[in-house]
């Protein structure tokens, strides 16, 4: 495993250098990352004020807290691997990954984690600023905070594994951007990014519980906001673990099939 640690360290240095090169694009991207939850925050605040200060179990201030925490959780779990894969197949450099004696997922995890080490501190600052500006405060129970850490890590892993698996679509079709967009559109609705899931119609909530999106984003947010009971938290944790295992199995299957297909069709 020492070799793997070495690989991750090297990848971190590479990612660091690249991010520095692309700092302008990075800033633009982060603006987008802040803007989306911010827009929903504003819209829902207005709706809440129109309805006498609260909707469901969310007061106007609760909405602000929700979307600010959402912003951070989204940032922590975010991946761009699907676009990366499409790029690799298109440029014909996926072959290089197949020539190497390590599974390409390691570089990708390392790259993802490394870039977050850099962007997260800034996002946390922005979140703190927004929290001050909108006068929000959260008071989760100590156990919720403790459970939040593993939940957040699981959320990241589940999201990464599933999106990495989805990225394999690049093996079969050269234009995966449509699939990507479909995925993100579904995620918007079913993960809690557009609105707290408890405010959506019941059938949607059921769908959200069955699909993995909630467990990637909405669930950690609700946990940290102190909105879940211990039972609910543990059930959620179980769902995350289940999706992690499923994700792992799917990944191996799809990867193997993908490589087989790629090596049949050629690069």
């Amino acid at each position: 495993m020492k070799a793997l640690a070495e690989l991750y360290t090297q990848q971190f240095k590479t990612t660091l250098a690249m991010m520095f090169q692309y700092r302008a694009a990075l800033v633009i991207w982060m603006i987008g990352q802040v803007l989306e939850p911010l827009v929903y925050l504003i819209v829902w605040s207005i709706v809440s004020k129109n309805s006498g200060g609260s909707i469901g179990s969310y007061t106007t201030s609760d909405f602000a807290a929700y979307f600010i925490v959402l912003m951070l959780v989204n940032q922590f779990t975010y991946t761009w691997i699907m676009y990366e894969f499409e790029y690799r197949v298109r440029e014909g450099i996926l072959s290089f990954a197949l020539l190497k004696p390590v599974h390409p997922i390691h570089s990708d995890i390392a790259d993802n984690a490394s870039s977050k080490l850099i962007t997260l501190p800034t996002m946390i600052l922005i979140a703190a600023g927004l929290a001050l500006g909108f006068h929000v405060s959260i008071s989760p129970a100590p156990w919720a905070v403790a459970v939040f850490i593993p939940v957040l890590l699981l959320a990241f892993l589940v999201r990464f594994l599933l999106e990495w698996t989805l990225a394999q679509a690049a093996f079969w079709t050269t234009r995966v951007s449509a699939i990507n967009q479909t995925y993100f559109v579904l995620m918007l609705f079913l993960s809690g990014q557009m609105a707290p899931l408890t405010l959506l119609p019941h059938p949607v909530q059921v769908a959200a519980a069955i699909l993995p999106f909630r467990w990637m984003i909405g669930f950690p947010v609700e946990l940290l906001l102190g909105r879940l009971t211990l039972t609910q938290a543990l059930t959620g944790l179980g769902a995350q673990v289940a999706w992690l295992l499923l994700g792992f199995v799917l990944l191996r299957l799809v990867w193997r099939a993908g490589v087989r297909n790629y090596s049949a069709v050629g690069a």
């Binding site: 070799a3 070495e6 690989l7 360290t9 090297q10 990848q11 240095k13 590479t14 250098a17 690249m18 090169q21 692309y22 014909g92 450099i93 072959s95 290089f96 197949l98 020539l99 190497k100 004696p101 390590v102 570089s107 490589v259 087989r260 090596s263 049949a264 069709v265 050629g266 690069a267």
Partner: protein, 341 residues
């Protein structure tokens, strides 16, 4: 080593003399969809795709022994790159046998991958925006090269390829030739014993081509690596390879020494004749290819060379006479042309 993914060793055959690369009746067939122009055809295609089977490699066989540098020649689309991809595990053959170092390439055994390398001209594995040395470090980690070996290999490669000033510049800022040198270095950091080079000098200027050629020869000499090299440029092949394998339309046309190639495929010799001026009509002696300043170039059937030479010497005031084989390029072109009647 992982024995599951190795090819079975034939009983009685000592492994030390078994070929490093073994190919037998190798086939690769591509299935592509047919597309025609015109609006109607395009819309029809949307509903029903017509498929076409194209054999890129159509039953080839050859072996490589340890330490050989072999040239793999053929025009575009002949099947060279496809073969190389099958050898490095990127492509799954449609039929036939292929083993490299005893491994079956498409199984992509990790210990197999650590001993080979594939360099593709014009395709970059180096990370674009950072200095080459950073990509080297990444490769070191991926191939698990011990630090001492890495240092030594890097020093030797830097020396042989003159990489000194290039290492710390972002790859994006390097010229094409400089980038190619770094790509080659990156591919060799783990000291592979089998090296596949797919058009490594393509697009480079003559000086750089020569440098890389020298490097390849030196690498082979120093480390005894087995090298299979494809190229368009005869100069590459002539300079580096004693043995060539020629492929065209997915089939092998020739496999042997370069000198034999000339013998086998040429029916002509060239006579270069120096006389006073270009006035003389030499058409009765042979095909006059050119004349400049009294220097004639004649093409003569091989069998008649001695006879024509004797006649020329007797009939004309010859200042100088030279009998040559036609240039390799011409020979090979003719070899390809034979496939297209």
């Amino acid at each position: 080593m992982d024995t599951r993914k190795r090819a079975p060793v034939v009983a009685g055959e000592p492994t030390v003399t078994s070929p490093v690369v073994h190919i037998k009746d190798l086939r690769k067939v591509y299935v592509v969809s047919q597309q025609e122009a015109g609006a109607k055809a395009v819309l029809q295609d949307l509903v029903h795709r017509r498929k076409l089977e194209i054999p890129a490699v159509d039953g080839i066989s050859f072996d490589l022994a340890t330490g050989e540098i072999v040239g793999f020649l053929g025009p575009n689309g002949a099947g060279k790159t496809t073969t190389l991809k099958m050898l490095s595990g990127l492509l799954h053959p449609s039929a036939g046998e292929v083993t490299v170092l005893g491994y079956i390439p498409w199984k992509r055994d990790k210990s197999f991958l650590r001993q080979i390398t594939l360099v593709m001209g014009q395709r970059n594995q180096l990370v674009w925006d950072i200095p080459a040395i950073s990509s080297f470090e990444l490769n070191r980690a991926i191939y698990r090269v011990p630090p001492v070996d890495y240092r030594r290999t890097l020093d030797e490669l830097t020396d042989l390829l003159e990489l000194g000033p290039l290492l710390h510049k972002p790859v994006r800022n390097l010229s094409l030739g400089e980038r190619m040198k770094c790509e080659i270095a990156a591919a060799l950091l783990h000291r592979p014993t089998v090296v596949f080079l797919d058009e490594p000098t393509i697009g480079l200027d003559v000086t750089m081509q020569r440098r890389i050629r020298n490097f390849i020869a030196e690498y082979n000499r120093r480390f005894g690596a087995t090298i299979l090299l494809t190229s368009h440029y005869m100069a590459d092949v002539v300079a580096l390879c004693r043995r060539v394998v020629i492929i065209h339309h997915g089939r092998l046309l020739f496999d042997g020494d370069l000198s034999d190639l000339v013998q086998k495929f040429t029916e002509y010799k060239t006579i270069v004749l120096q006389v006073g001026d270009c006035q003389a009509d030499l058409r009765s002696y042979g095909e006059v290819e050119s004349c400049g300043d009294g220097r004639f170039t004649l093409r003569v059937p091989k069998a008649k060379t001695a006879q024509v030479t004797a006649r020329l010497l007797k009939d004309l005031p010859v200042i100088d006479l030279l009998v040559e084989d036609p240039p390799i390029e011409e020979v090979i072109e003719r070899v390809f042309a034979q496939e297209n009647p």
